[in-house]
Symmetry: C2
Subunit: 258 residues, 2 copies
DNA sequence: AAATTACCGTTGCATGTGCAACAGAACAGC
DNA sequence: GCTGTTCTGTTGCACATGCAACGGTAATTT
């Protein structure tokens, strides 16, 4: 099973859906439930739990299952969010509204991804808007129930996992800071593309951004990004067409990214 | 008692030491222990615990008390870190080494500050070097003992608190990202100074950075920063001399910071 | 198939800012 | 006192990049 968690970017755009339609007859639903448990087990939040413990825990915590269509807003920035969500199928993206109102892409996540966890139960308002990129199935768990210990070993394991999950997100954000700290646009582009190639495991890959989105992500102007990519292409460093990239000179790119 | 936690910047440079020398006769030491407990109670990590619970928990977890002289390295970047530290007195600072080797200030903390918590227990190596700005007293708790539940209510409370603590640090980092995303140097300076004034609670304050450090923090050139500060001073927006600042036109600064 | 929209590359221009170099002030040590 | 070091402000210059505008191509809709 293809599980992606905490992936700040994710170049895999085609997700193999285990279910195209969440509303199914009861017999299929049981089978679906089984699939969900297996997926949840491989999640950073629920790793290390047996299926029995997990099922019991979910019931005690009042976990609910929701389906959303593409484009639906799951979490509205500025309004309080009381649930942790785990993606069962589909993709979601989190964006921030910049002070000037333009959307700033933060992260995208596929099945197994956990969102809404970095609120610390402090009844804080979410700084990001979470929307469904594709039709989604999501499991929602009230944050209070998640944090409030019931004394079970499983629940304590989940708390530990939660610490891990949030720490991982911290490090992802820290890596983004590293990107933003690079001085030249060329360095940013090189660092970003190298990280994407690393994630994809090959030198040819697609990124989950349009040019305009990537420009916002790297905090630069869209035309400047196009210009720089054109230059790098002419210099033989890479090939690119729209969202597709092929890295040609890894060593040079590594040097450029400092 | 003056408690500072999770302060990414902190303009208070003069810390009133409760103890100038940690090595004292037994009678004083007990009194010191009492002070420590009170301070720890007001910490984000140990809030909500009674002194009895806290004392028992610390003993069970194998917490140790260490003193460091100014300049000593508490955590070396790149080497694994197995302990969470809570500052009892003094100040510490965390810096990163940029790819080019220059130090990049990350955070400073005073009494009550918690560090080494964002490692997720995954035996990760610390990305930052933590050093003592002043002579320090620190309480160290093995991360494994902290995460591994013993079934006590106090321990579960600590786990919850740990989630909160890490979440808070995530948001601090997110705010730094916001700073870095601002397009012009003037906007960065305005946003930073406004946040410092907000923290200090007054328009006249000192920042914990030299010009060169602030330039690194805002990701700009030192001379460019001096130039911009000079311009803003001539325009009547603020006054500055070395690390001291006085904001003169709050409205204008707010507009500039977008 | 036509029309509408979104996406992308290109280019000219203005300028903010990195870079290097220098000098004076503050500070520490002797 | 003197000396060396660190911190800071200043300035000239080059250039990377933001900005605006335009046209072309791909994608989507009717």
């Amino acid at each position: 099973m293809h599980v992606q968690q905490n992936s700040e970017f994710d170049s895999c755009l085609s997700i193999p859906f285990s279910r195209s339609c969440p509303r199914q007859p009861a017999r299929s639903l049981n089978r679906t439930m089984q699939n969900d448990l297996t997926l949840l087990q491989s999640t950073s939040l629920f790793s290390g739990l047996s299926q029995e413990d997990l099922a019991g825990l979910l019931a005690r915590m009042g976990a609910v299952h929701r389906s959303y269509n593409r484009g639906v807003v799951l979490v509205q920035a500025g309004s309080p969010n009381h649930s942790v969500g785990i993606i069962l199928s589909g993709r979601i993206e989190a964006v921030r509204l910049a002070p000037d109102g333009s959307p700033l892409p933060i992260t995208q996540m596929g099945p197994g991804g956990v969102f809404g966890d970095v609120l610390g139960g402090s009844s804080l308002c979410s700084p990001v808007t979470v929307t469904a990129c594709t039709p989604c199935d999501v499991m929602l768990i009230p944050y209070q129930r998640l944090l409030c210990p019931d004394g079970s070993a499983a629940q304590q394991q989940v708390l530990q996992n939660l610490v891990r999950t949030i720490s991982d997100k911290y490090f992802l954000l820290a890596r983004r800071v590293d990107l933003l700290l690079l001085r030249t646009l060329r360095a940013k582009v090189s660092a970003y593309l190298l990280s994407e190639a690393d994630r994809a495991g090959q030198l040819t890959f697609r990124i989950p951004f349009t040019r305009a989105q990537l420009a916002r992500y790297l905090n630069c102007d869209r035309s400047a990004l196009s210009r720089e990519l054109g230059r790098m292409q002419r210099e033989g460093l890479l090939d690119t067409y729209r969202s597709s990239f092929k890295l040609r000179d890894l060593d040079a790119l590594r040097k450029l990214s400092q």
